[in-house]
């Protein structure tokens, strides 16, 4: 357990490391620095830390203005506010003119402490994915988070980063390199492909081990880059395994499952099963309570996979 690290921790520390090298990195905070871990940046670079108060719309506009002067602004808040609250500001002030603004949503999906439905972001990927010019990334673990933040600093354009709150084990290899639009096969398999992102990847890997006992050889893909999505790895999975299951910490409408369906439907139709939150609002509770209530535990996923594959 000791080697589990929260993506938000890696995010906060990576920002400090990159901030030392690059004086153009600035961080905007809508009164959640201790939660999003931009508090580390605040301690290291108080002059480049911009607290805007609980005013997310203004934060996005300020970030847009700063970016026109060559700054690389990271506008940070919870994912629900970073998407729902500021949808128009992100669209018109940032994405339309393709400004170099990084929008960071912390506390993602169902896993938001015990904050419940109002603070759960089950729509953020759907919102961000449908905005032209936006890149959407949900890194899975600390290592990938570091690589993704480095990428975001070097990429000239708007990026939405979905950064998990809770500790994750090491999922990607230590020498992993993030590439825009490229996913990673975590486990090879020929009977079915499980595609997931963020916090659900751990349970999806466990589910793959569980179904193996039933004689099902499942491939597992970490789809951290949700837009642009890795079409080739999806088509290859459809061709080689014939069936795909998506597992996401998001409404099954508009998120990762939808992104995969779009590619498969257009390029290589096969059957797909989407696992996620089935168009309902969440509840207060621990992560384990959420997973149990919304049938997102490894055993729930395994059961769905077994039913789907039909063995």
């Amino acid at each position: 357990m000791s080697d589990r690290i929260a993506p938000r921790e890696a995010f906060g520390k990576t920002l400090v490391r990159l901030g030392e090298e690059n004086p153009n990195i600035v961080v905007l905070d809508a009164d959640l620095a201790p939660s999003t871990k931009t508090s580390y940046f605040r301690e290291s670079f108080p002059q480049r830390f911009i607290p805007v108060g609980i005013a997310e719309q203004n934060m996005i506009g300020i970030a847009a203005g700063l970016s026109t002067l060559g700054f690389i602004p990271f506008a940070t808040t919870f994912a629900c506010f970073a998407s729902r609250r500021v949808c128009d500001q992100v669209t018109v002030s940032c994405a339309y003119p393709r400004l170099n603004v990084k929008i960071v949503g912390g506390y993602v999906g169902l896993f938001v402490g015990k904050n419940g439905a109002t603070h759960q972001a089950l729509e953020d990927i759907a919102i961000m994915r449908s905005i032209a010019n936006m890149v959407v990334i949900e890194p899975v673990d600390a290592t990938e988070t570091e690589r993704v933040i480095e990428f975001a600093c070097n990429y000239d354009g708007p990026v939405y980063l979905r950064i998990g709150r809770d500790p994750m084990p090491q999922i990607v290899p230590q020498d992993y390199k993030f590439q825009l639009g490229r996913a990673l096969v975590l486990r090879e398999g020929k009977d079915v492909t499980l595609i997931s992102s963020g916090a659900m990847v751990e349970d999806t890997l466990k589910a793959a081990s569980l179904v193996e006992k039933e004689g099902i050889d499942a491939r597992v893909i970490n789809m951290s880059c949700i837009k642009p999505v890795d079409e080739e790895i999806i088509v290859k999975a459809a061709e080689e395994t014939g069936r795909i299951v998506t597992v996401e910490n998001h409404n099954i409408i508009g998120g990762l499952g939808s992104a995969v369906c779009e590619v498969v439907a257009e390029r290589y139709p096969v059957r797909i099963k989407r696992i996620g939150i089935r168009d309902v609002f969440g509840k207060s509770g621990t992560n384990e309570e959420m997973k149990a209530k919304f049938k997102l535990r490894a055993e729930d996923i395994a059961k769905e996979v077994i039913n789907f594959v039909g063995r």
Binding site: V26, Q47, R48, I50, V52, G53, A55, Q57, N58, M59, I60, G61, I62, A63, A64, G65, L66, S67, T68, L69, F71, P73, D88, Q89, T91, V92, S93, Y96, P97, R98
Partner: protein, 290 residues
């Protein structure tokens, strides 16, 4: 300040030419935001021909002043002043609203030189201006940032978030102007959603506020000069204007917010603005080409 003495007559001529260009653009396009363009002719003229340190030959000049038209729907007169200043050629003005034109209905910073922010969704421009002014302070730059807002726009909550932050960050390099023409799309501001007491509101948000007649060059110039002397806080100019100013049948009429103009209306408007007869004839023939 390397300010040249400005001839009042020259400013008046420019403002009038802007209005003529607006009528021609809206006439040719068959659509456009007329009223809220006309109300800011003197303000834009004074900004571009008295105040702003900008270089049309080098629109990306790093030290330039930044101007943001937060009320992006007044794009016709914004494009008119950009052509008058030399940022864009005059002959593209009549392409306004065409899908392939750099002159989109609302200003697009990626398509049109001299446009500093893509605006049109009301309420967003002042926040962007705050970001620019804050960035100037962080970088130790001395340029100034200007934002022109509509009055109805101040009904957006984001404007007040931005107002609060500009004063917190002590942005004395930021100047906002409100085009207070008292009308919005669906009716009178005072009936739709009153802004008063507007002066007191901005003062209470920590701004230095100057109230002027937005059609008086003297008052605009004096307010711009006064704003530069204010230290430690941003300045707001509340410019009392008349929507549709300069074309009598448009003045103070809510119906002239976004319009198409008939051949007769274009003719009458251009005549009133003193447009030469041959130019009127040309405009009318261009309208009939469509």
């Amino acid at each position: 300040m390397n300010k040249k003495p400005v001839e009042r007559k020259k400013l008046e001529e420019i403002a009038n030419r802007l209005r003529i260009k607006v009528v021609k653009m809206i006439g040719k396009s068959g659509f456009g935001h007329a009223g809220g363009s006309m109300s800011i002719a003197e303000i834009l003229t004074t900004l571009y021909f008295y105040e702003l340190q900008v270089d049309p030959e080098n629109p990306a000049w790093e030290e330039r002043d930044r101007f943001i038209l937060s009320k992006g729907h007044a794009a016709p007169i914004f494009y008119a002043v950009l052509s008058e200043k030399g940022f864009i050629p005059e002959d593209i003005l009549l392409t306004i609203h065409h899908p392939d034109s750099p002159l989109q209905c609302h200003p697009d910073m990626r398509l049109c030189p001299g446009v500093e922010a893509s605006t049109g969704a009301l309420g967003q421009g002042l926040s962007i201006a705050v970001g620019m002014a804050l960035g100037a302070k962080l970088k130790g730059k001395s340029f100034r940032v200007y934002a022109l807002l509509g009055d109805g726009e101040a009904q957006e909550g984001q404007v007040w978030e931005a107002a609060m932050s500009a004063s917190k960050f002590k942005l004395d390099n930021l100047l906002a102007i409100i085009d207070y023409n008292k009308l919005e799309l669906s009716g009178k501001i005072n009936e739709v959603m009153p802004l008063e007491p507007l002066y007191d509101k901005w003062v209470s948000f920590g701004w230095h506020v100057i109230e002027i007649n937005g059609h008086s060059f003297t008052q605009i110039i004096n307010a711009l000069d006064e704003a530069k002397k204010i230290k430690g806080k941003p300045t707001l100019i509340i410019a009392h204007t008349v929507k549709g100013q300069g074309v009598s049948f448009m003045e103070d009429k809510v119906e002239w917010h976004a319009v198409s103009m008939s051949v007769d209306q274009v003719k009458e408007a251009l005549k009133e603005l003193g447009c030469p007869q041959e130019e009127i004839e040309l405009t009318l023939s261009q309208m009939k080409e469509e």
